[in-house]
């Protein structure tokens, strides 16, 4: 019996140009690219950083085996796409010889005579090819990439130009996925569309006519179920054929913009083609769209040309024309047209969007509705604040009363009786007793409740819907996309929000977002507002403060957006389905956020309370250090702001942590704050605390992210703004008769 042939793929000698192909897997995140990659390449993947970036790309090699090539299944959709007579290879119509099952089963060699015959065969030419598979990072868009992953994908397509693109598409979410497909068709690279998760789509009641999609896109479409390996060999074979038969590549049907945009775009393309630039191997059509959308990175490509001024003027003219015609930002106009085309394609090929629409989808549609969405979001925000307020009020009425009536007097008695030293008495009483009391009444009812609500909003999937709605709303003010996320993060804590601005692609966006983020009231500032004004003055005052702050954010955002040159980039989101939050993950998330208030804030409050007690009692209780500081700060604090002089110390403490301000008020008042301040004073105090200088941790990250100059400008301007507004509020309220 003959042993296995050592050299199986002799035809490669005869067609040396066909011995190697590079296939790039491109798709949006979570569509199954990695599953396909692993199925094809096994465990032999090489993980490497793309040059100059930290983005990892996976590379693996696969040789098309006898079985891969002669798998009996043949996708009918690509039958029309065959080589013509002009091509190098002729199609042999003879049927595949299946009378030798033994050989097929073993998959060894194909026999001398059979080879001679099969060399003419279409399939035969790809047998034994070395296919280098590259798994590119998930990208929502490549027209105006904003994340590092998207930039790497675009750079790879431009500079490394694969022989074939396999565009992996999620069949359960066709419109969003087709947005990328439409852009990929612009590249002059053979492409195969992999329609993945068709089983899941079918279970959801979605039937997709892949042949029709193939016809509409002009490239082969292979339905697959990657996790089960269904049709993955067929996909590989089709991809290899697409690459091998460059002369007979299918005719991709490119998307043409409607309403006269197309003509303008072609005018620009034509002008760019005359300039003979674009050394980056970027299709002119993509470049034109990037220029119109003010995508910063393509500017260098244009500016290097001597005729750049003229081209940029043309870009500006076309942009103005389109924006004037549609009365909207060009990013929105072009994005909307692409979206409409993706929806049109989906409607053409998708038969039935599920037999019945689940209730959660109906609710989701209402929550993200253009008309009802924002009022509902506003109600949710007000409801959340009311829940926090109610928690604070209940806590104050129960635990607070108990603490005032029992713990405080007992602790005071024990300390004065058993501790002889006055210094230690002051430290213990102000640090431990009043410190813990202050922490308990701010951290537990307000901050913990806020984090529970935040976790619930996240786990239900509503947080993503708020971001979606805000994106649409803020877009009108010129603030959109990624800049929204740090603002929402800032509601929890400003530190991660400032760090979150890193994700913004331009310095301009980062500067704007950085400025606005520090104005967003964090959970601690919300506690200050609700714990002072809300609890002891009026909840309406608390809402008024929030309205003022958000008004400033919106106004300042619009002003900065129009002052600083450049453009903002959108964010592609995947709205998660609505679901019931589970108790354990929700509580775990709450604790992971809240523990900072236990490990960091509590010791700080105890130390701060002790130091404040010492400042109140020494050198003498009547003429203490705090009194001296108060005298110094009196013109501003008492004269302009109308506050008790001692609150100056609270403002200084607030730089450490915002909640320290109200906690020190509790210590200064030696009981409820309303015995120390009037409602007007509480309002002014909470307004200033919400706006003035960010806390020390935020200043540290601002310094790290933006350097000292911007940090200094930001800190100074917020202090000036806060004290100015505080004074104005004080005089207005005095004029209105508030004591």
């Amino acid at each position: 019996m003959k042993g296995p042939r050592k050299r199986k793929f002799r035809h490669r000698k005869q067609f040396p140009e066909l011995n190697h192909l590079r296939i790039a897997l491109v798709g949006q995140p979570n569509v199954g690219k990695s599953v396909i990659f692993n199925n094809w390449t096994g465990l032999g993947a090489i993980v490497s950083n793309y040059p100059g970036t930290t983005v990892e790309i996976l590379e693996g090699t696969v040789y098309l085996s006898y079985r891969d090539v002669y798998s009996p299944r043949w996708h009918p959709g690509i039958k029309d796409w065959q080589p013509t007579e002009e091509d190098e290879f002729q199609q042999d119509d003879r049927p595949f010889r299946r009378d030798r099952p033994g050989r097929r089963q073993h998959g060894r060699g194909i026999g001398k005579h059979f080879r001679k015959w099969a060399l003419k065969d279409f399939d035969e030419t790809i047998e034994g090819l070395q296919l280098d598979i590259v798994d590119l990072p998930g990208s929502y868009t490549i027209v105006s990439p904003s994340t590092e992953d998207e930039k790497v994908t675009l750079r790879y397509l431009q500079q490394d130009t694969p022989d074939v693109i396999v565009n992996v598409v999620d069949a359960t979410n066709l419109p969003r996925n087709l947005l990328l497909t439409i852009a990929l068709l612009e590249f002059n690279i053979p492409m195969v569309v992999c329609l993945n998760q068709v089983d899941l789509a079918r279970r959801m009641g979605i039937e997709i006519d892949e042949k029709k999609l193939e016809m509409l896109l002009g490239v082969p479409v292979i339905p697959t179920v990657a996790i089960h390996g269904t049709n993955l060999k067929l996909l590989l074979r089709t991809a290899a054929k697409s690459g091998a038969y460059k002369g007979v590549r299918p005719n991709p049907r490119r998307f043409l913009f409607p309403n006269g945009i197309e003509a303008k775009l072609r005018r620009l393309e034509q002008r760019l083609s005359q300039m003979q630039l674009c050394p980056m191997n970027l299709p002119l059509r993509i470049l034109s769209q990037q220029l119109l959308e003010e995508y910063a990175q393509c500017a260098a490509c244009i500016e290097s040309s001597l005729e750049s001024e003229e081209a940029l003027n043309l870009v500006k003219t076309i942009r103005t024309e389109i924006e004037k015609e549609f009365d909207e930002d060009i990013v929105l106009v072009l994005g909307e047209k692409r979206k409409q085309y993706a929806i049109y394609l989906t409607e053409q090929v998708q038969q039935g969007k599920g037999k019945r629409v689940p209730l959660t989808e109906k609710i989701s549609a209402i929550l993200t509705d253009r008309v009802f969405g924002l009022p509902i979001a506003l109600l949710v925000l007000i409801g959340s604040l009311l829940i926090m307020f109610a928690a604070g009020a209940i806590f104050d009425a129960t635990v607070g009363e108990f603490w005032e009536a029992f713990i405080n007097p007992t602790a005071q008695y024990l300390i004065t009786t058993y501790v002889p030293s006055v210094i230690v008495q002051v430290i213990l009483y102000y640090g431990l007793v009043l410190g813990i009391q202050a922490w308990l009444f701010i951290a537990v009812p307000f901050v913990a409740t806020f984090y529970i609500i935040l976790s619930i909003l996240e786990d239900t999937g509503y947080m993503a819907r708020i971001a979606f709605l805000l994106d649409a709303f803020m877009h009108r003010l010129g603030l959109h996309g990624r800049a929204i996320i740090p603002l929402l993060t800032g509601m929890g804590c400003n530190v991660p929000a400032v760090l979150g601005t890193r994700i913004l692609s331009t310095r301009r966006e980062r500067l704007i977002a950085g400025f606005l983020v520090v104005l967003v009231p964090c959970s601690a500032q919300l506690a200050v507002i609700l714990g002072t004004v809300g609890l002891y003055a009026s909840i309406f005052f608390a809402f008024l403060i929030l309205a003022i702050v958000f008004g400033i954010i919106i106004g300042l955002g619009a002003l900065l957006q129009h002052t600083l040159p450049g453009a903002s980039h959108g964010l592609v989101m995947e709205i998660p389905p609505l679901r019931t939050p589970r108790l354990k993950p929700t509580l775990k998330k709450t604790w992971l956020r809240f523990r900072e208030f236990v490990y960091i804030a509590l010791p700080l409050i105890i130390i701060g309370g002790a130091v404040l007690g010492l400042l109140l009692y020494f050198p003498t209780p009547d003429f203490s250090y705090l009194y001296m500081v108060s005298l110094w700060a009196a013109p501003l604090v008492v004269g302009w702001l109308g506050l008790p002089a001692e609150t100056a110390a609270a403002f200084v403490y607030g730089i450490l942590r915002k909640e320290l301000t109200v906690e020190l008020l509790v210590i200064l008042a030696n009981g409820p704050i309303n015995t120390f301040m009037t409602p007007r004073q509480m309002f002014v105090f909470a307004l200033i605390t919400t706006i003035y200088i960010p806390c020390i941790a935020t200043i540290a990250v601002l310094f790290r992210e933006y350097r000292w100059k911007y940090t200094l400008i930001l800190a100074t301007s917020t202090v000036i703004l806060a004290f100015f507004l505080g004074g104005v509020a004080n005089f207005i309220m005095l004029g209105l008769g508030f004591p």
Partner: protein
């Protein structure tokens, strides 16, 4: 492999892909994780939990 889903933009990712820890004083000790797509920071509770 432990995967996380961003509650803000819906992106699923692995811990190695998370960004935002570099330069933070609490780096990798705060129990939080930042989404590589939108930058939103949230407690690192895996999707399966």
């Amino acid at each position: 492999m432990t995967t996380y889903q961003c509650p803000m933009c819906g992106r699923k990712f692995e811990k190695a892909q998370a960004t935002g820890c570099a330069g933070c004083m609490m780096a990798r000790a705060c129990g939080a994780i930042a989404c590589p797509n939108c930058g939103y920071e949230f407690p690192a509770v895996p999707e399966e939990a």
